[in-house]
Symmetry: C2
Subunit: 253 residues, 2 copies
């Protein structure tokens, strides 16, 4: 049984805390956050601290913190032999260099506080500074999920960027759809089966092949009538996505 | 039992054909398409024709055709008392004006030829030129689906535009994610649980509230490092979607 100190109390930290509660071979022994108030929800369950000096010795220090806090905490923490891990998609492994053993455990999922996630199906991208460290990270990742992938810092950076496109940007397009419905007294629920089907379609079809719509068909009449309805950011989004679909599909046809 | 002549052999027509095969109170008696070759898949099942003069009398003429073909066929077809319907999101009811009874039955879903769809859950937006026509369209829509909505031509135009955002544009962002994976020797399957969760999240959360990511957090460090990786259309997409998220959430905070 390996012991873990978890750093952070945000969405990723909270979901990791819950998932590690069910893990077979790992156990959280302490939660750290610099703001004492944010520790309240953990206090009944586990030892907590808001002082770095009071962080206990453990096998694994797991930083589920904002990107900018990672190198800062890595510098201030004492290396008493624990392996230091972060969970960030956008931060290089080298941010942890003050520690001799270091690694990355990046769970590729969108976490909201009140939505439970089955961690067992969350892809986890891992990396470490040597084979010994990698074994520790891999064992932890496999204790959390069935889906473990070895990615370099370079690959992880691109994977994080791809995630921004397929998750954050996609959700913003859902928001635009929601706003259009609101402005026209239409219930957003009309769009939900379409959203679900669009996502589920690409489990079996490649997204490139699944593309439909006026841009794909080069239907200038419909495209122009849509552009006439739009202005501002929404019009710019329509223009660039339409032209990008046409460039990509025109090029490859 | 009302009789239907179906016009068209594309994705919408094919899925409607299958759904109407199971309908209780409606029966397709003929399929028309101007290209005889495209009728081959229907020939064993039903009477077909590629000549407008040979179109038989029926209660309902259902045009599941490309937008530009709708007014053209409406003009050439003889009005022998059938109600004339189209299935287009972007075409006004007035395109059917040569007919005395006319209506719209717009199934709001993305249809691919080889992916079966449960029509019972497909939202159907309907409209008609008078209450008698509306009753015919409503009865047909309810025979196909549990989800029937009354939309004006104006509302349907906006609903179709919203569908382009949440389906066609979303699928293009999936394609960008797929391309980024390919370029970096990463399997696209890593992104699939994230895509599924992003879509499923908004069944309970409003998209506006579900927004996460660097743009939402105003994380300039990550945004700049992403922009440094990008060029061309992909960079323009990143820029406009990031700035649109910031404008929308900044404004409303």
């Amino acid at each position: 049984m390996k012991s873990i100190v978890l750093f952070g109390t945000g969405n990723v930290a909270t979901h990791l805390f819950n998932a590690l509660f069910e893990a077979q071979n790992h156990k959280i022994i302490q939660v750290y956050n610099h703001q004492p108030g944010s520790l309240a929800i953990f206090q009944n369950k586990i030892s907590t601290t808001s002082k770095l000096d009071d962080v206990v010795e453990a096998d694994i220090y797991l930083l589920a913190l904002k990107d900018e806090a990672i190198p800062e905490i890595a510098l201030k923490l004492k290396d008493k032999g624990a392996i230091l891990l972060h969970t960030s998609g956008a931060t290089s492994l080298s941010a942890l260099e003050p520690f001799e053993s270091r690694g990355v455990l990046y769970p590729l999922q969108t976490f909201s506080r009140n939505k439970p996630v089955n961690f067992n199906h969350v892809p986890i991208c891992i990396e470490a500074n040597n084979s010994q460290s990698l074994e520790i990270v891999e064992t932890l990742a496999e204790d959390l999920s069935e889906k473990v992938y070895h990615l370099s810092s370079h690959q992880r950076k691109w994977m994080h960027l791809a995630a921004v496109f397929v998750c954050n940007f996609v959700n913003h397009l859902y928001t635009e759809g929601e706003e259009i419905c609101k402005e026209n007294n239409l219930p957003f629920e009309i769009l939900q089966p379409l959203i679900a089907e669009t996502a589920s379609k690409i489990e079996n079809l490649k997204p490139f092949e699944a593309q439909t719509g006026p841009a794909r068909r080069a239907d200038t009449g419909v495209i122009n009538s849509h552009l006439n309805l739009l202005q501002g950011d929404r019009k710019k989004i329509y223009e660039i996505l339409t032209s990008s679909i046409q460039n990509l599909h025109g090029k490859k046809l």
